[in-house]
Symmetry: C2
Subunit: 328 residues, 2 copies
């Protein structure tokens, strides 16, 4: 393959990830148009892609038809979704995209559903001998469990999540969060684990990274860590999923007693994945190679250990006189 | 002056601002060492400055002595503080810094105190004919005022601030926030206004910028707006302060009825100020010129209108094998 046109959906502010895909195309010496799609023309990624396309909300009945139209128009080889809310929907429509020549970098619907719903995820982890924080119903809490963690069962990026310290707080907050889930609060060191799974369900690479600091639910300071227990755990989680495909990021806590708890499993590129990639685990290149059916450039786990990421705000600046004014 | 050594305190993740100061030094063809100081070695700015120095907490009695030591050691001409908590303290010690040859880019203590305390700020604004949201005590609320805004009286970056919709929420939250302040909730368009004041209290330039989106209390999408009412308002706020000096950022809301409410006044470079600077209002260069007593390169208000900023996460990457490992 000498050409791979990419469509990133819900591209938002994922500028660095898209730049890293551009680098991967360059390394492979493949041509490739990079198209981003978002509800907003004011997405920073609109200014790093070759073409930015406006799309309706993921919840709109027009969303999938619009994406199919864009895939045909731009002859997209690979569609890479970047938020949780659309994964199951895209998985359901895999065959429609295949008919227009587009591979979607997504797992089966069963796996997307499992990742999205923390109750299903908790049951799955148990079947493979792993732990997640205990889940409670509000009426099961007798006081012994405080503090607990309250969050939406289908939440993303810590939105609306909070620590609850006593029954009056619980009583107050439980009705303020739709689909509230009450979770055992586990303290310890926070990790994310990135991984990629090929067409046959083989786990190609797994990279744990310690999270020192977060901002708006996303890592702002972290470092890779060659922790063999976490590498084994990440591989086990991904290898046993039904129909896993593509890139994943899971969040874990290593409790003070050494027990590992899996908090979240995202069936897409996680927000902090540029750290693993920059440390040498070239997930964009692996994904491109897997989708094209070409040999992998490496299966070495030789990413840099202790490689640190310190995030800061950078910006795209757009003069009002640029084409189309504020809306491109 | 051919040399200006700069010390940025509480430098944190203000990478872009420090880069813009470097550009300003280059434009002036001045030599200058850029030193950053922070409690953390893991500050992203540590990797864009010439020297990064660790300092104790602002609340430590050793903080000012340590800064004085650094100013002597690096022959600092200008100290630029970047968070609210240290402004009054630095203002109080101006003379100590002058004795070691360092100018501090800060207003008088009276003005720093006024900016830090929303009650004082509210009284000040009233004396110059401007509005801020009404302030209440918890026992004054009779239900007619909801929704209200609850926040610490001395808060920064929206930390702990929240909308309160009814008396049971108020009752619950009022004790969870130290130094709680209950403020009238005003809805409308959000603006920040940046400005710079010279040694004689003259307002050199004022730039309003509309804020479309915020993240963790800091602007993530915005655009400059040549709004003459807001320019006049910003100038009036700065021109009437007792002993104002250096750069300021204030937050305003233009309510649906056109009334302007001033929410906050920060006596330092605001987080979104790179937008104004990149639009052509070169605040770093003005500050350097003012402090050196050299003529201003321009007093033109010819910054670009409708100039848009779309922020995204960028990062500094640090291999573990770099000097000193994780701690530089």
């Amino acid at each position: 393959m000498n050409r791979c046109n990419l469509l990133f959906t819900s591209s938002g502010r994922r500028v660095e990830l898209i730049q890293l895909f551009r680098f991967a195309l360059d390394e492979l010496a493949w041509d490739g148009l990079i198209v981003t799609a978002d509800m907003s023309a004011r997405a920073a990624t609109a200014y790093v892609s070759d073409v930015h396309e406006l799309v309706p909300s993921v919840s709109s009945p027009d969303y999938i038809p619009r994406l199919l139209e864009l895939c045909q128009q731009h002859q997209i080889h690979l569609l890479i979704p970047l938020i949780d809310w659309e994964l199951s929907l895209l998985a359901k429509h895999q065959a429609d995209f295949e008919r227009v020549g587009t591979k979607v970098a997504v797992s089966t619907q069963e796996t997307c559903d499992l990742c999205f719903d923390k109750r299903q995820l908790s049951r799955y982890l148990k079947t493979i001998g792993l732990q997640s924080p205990a889940l409670y119903n509000a009426d099961e809490i007798d006081g012994a469990q405080f503090p607990v963690f309250l969050k939406p069962f289908d939440g993303s990026a810590s939105r609306d999540a909070r620590i609850i310290r006593n029954s009056s707080e619980l009583k107050f907050f439980v009705d303020t969060i739709p689909n509230a889930l009450i979770q055992e609060y586990v303290s310890g060191r926070e990790y994310a684990i990135d991984g990629v799974v090929d067409q046959d369900g083989n786990v190609v690479c797994v990279v744990p990274r310690r999270q020192f600091e977060a901002r708006s639910g996303e890592v702002s300071k972290g470092a890779t860590e060659r922790n063999s227990a976490l590498i084994e755990l990440g591989s086990r989680v991904l290898a046993n999923l039904p129909g896993a495909f593509g890139c994943f990021t899971m969040d874990c806590i290593v409790a003070d007693d050494g027990q590992v708890y899996v908090l979240d499993l995202n069936a897409r590129f996680g927000g902090g994945m540029p750290l693993s990639i920059r440390s040498g685990a070239n997930f964009p290149r692996w994904l491109l190679e897997i989708c094209a059916g070409t040999p992998l450039h490496t299966t070495s786990q030789n990413w840099a250990n202790g490689f640190m990421m310190l995030r800061y705000d950078q910006a795209i600046y757009v003069p009002a006189t640029s084409e189309g004014g504020l809306v491109r």
